[in-house]
Symmetry: C2
Subunit: 182 residues, 2 copies
């Protein structure tokens, strides 16, 4: 049986994952050596935790999915006015930062992400359609694409221009809100 992580093991594992998120978000084809350096860990150690590159990627996706789910839960998208709920979701996702750009760059069509949202998200959009706060011409799937792409735009904007995190978040939520209005 696998030994229970003795604390040190868990810490190292997390350090590697964090570094991998940061490095691979910027350059999806970065080498494992780069990740190891960023994690301040020997390449040997990295291989000890994740035998193959694909194992690391898998763990990364699991981590991203988990955080995505938590963030979705925190946004309570089934409560209150639709647009406000959409903007709460936007805020929560924005805080995930690099973690989501990972999913975004690999495959926008990520099977997970669609299913993660679809139950509640479609319902949210439907709510907005019926109460007139969301343009009925815009399907839920498109609004989801919009949300993701604007988050991406926000992160890029943050990284490239000297603008505060708070200010960027303001721009994104405002733009998302405006884009879905009828």
């Amino acid at each position: 049986m696998t030994t229970v992580p003795t604390g040190s093991r868990a810490r190292t594992r997390q350090a590697i994952l964090d570094a991998a998120v940061e490095v691979l978000a910027r350059n999806p084809s970065a080498s494992l050596g780069d990740v190891a350096v960023a994690a301040d860990v020997g390449r040997t150690t990295l291989h000890r935790y994740f035998a193959e590159r694909s194992d690391l990627i898998t763990a990364l996706h699991a981590l991203a999915d988990e955080r995505l789910e938590r963030a979705t839960a925190r946004a309570r998208i089934d409560e209150g006015p639709a647009v406000a709920a959409l903007q709460r979701l936007c805020r929560e996702y924005f805080d995930l930062g690099d973690v989501l750009s990972l999913l975004f760059r690999d495959q926008v069509n990520c099977d997970e992400e669609t299913t993660v949202c679809d139950e509640g998200f479609e319902e949210l959009v439907r709510r907005g359609h019926t109460d007139g706060s969301i343009d009925p011409e815009l399907p839920a799937l498109w609004i989801q694409s919009l949300l993701w792409s604007q988050l991406y735009a926000g992160w890029s904007y943050l990284a490239e221009h000297g603008v505060s995190r708070h200010e960027v978040l303001r721009l994104v939520t405002r733009s998302i809100g405006g884009a879905v209005r009828p």
Copy 2:
């Protein structure tokens, strides 16, 4: 001196560039072999036209910049109401397709792209700010990020879901228009 392209040379060169756009837009780290196959050309021939990978990339950027500039010119962003001009620009860029996703994926902050637009684009946004058709809270740079990210979202949407080009374009222009409204 380099011999003047005899027609056949120019055709081959163009075939390689077209294939490179298609292949590299989907996977920026695709091999030159993949590009050669897509161009229906031997790898040797490809190397004959572009000695190094970086030479191909450079040519690709030049091609993208040129088409970007033409598209910008066609949109006549200095004419008419600001939002309509923005939507014309959106339409023209949308038609560039893969060519622009290339620039987008490599570096959203592409030095070229900012300078290409900045003269006219900032003016367009200013026009919208003063006549009240564009939310004055949104800076030109952000609107530009928005435009690009929504185009990207549109292309992805087109590729992944069975939606017509025309329909996607409608969604993008509508969303862009909505996003910048005060």
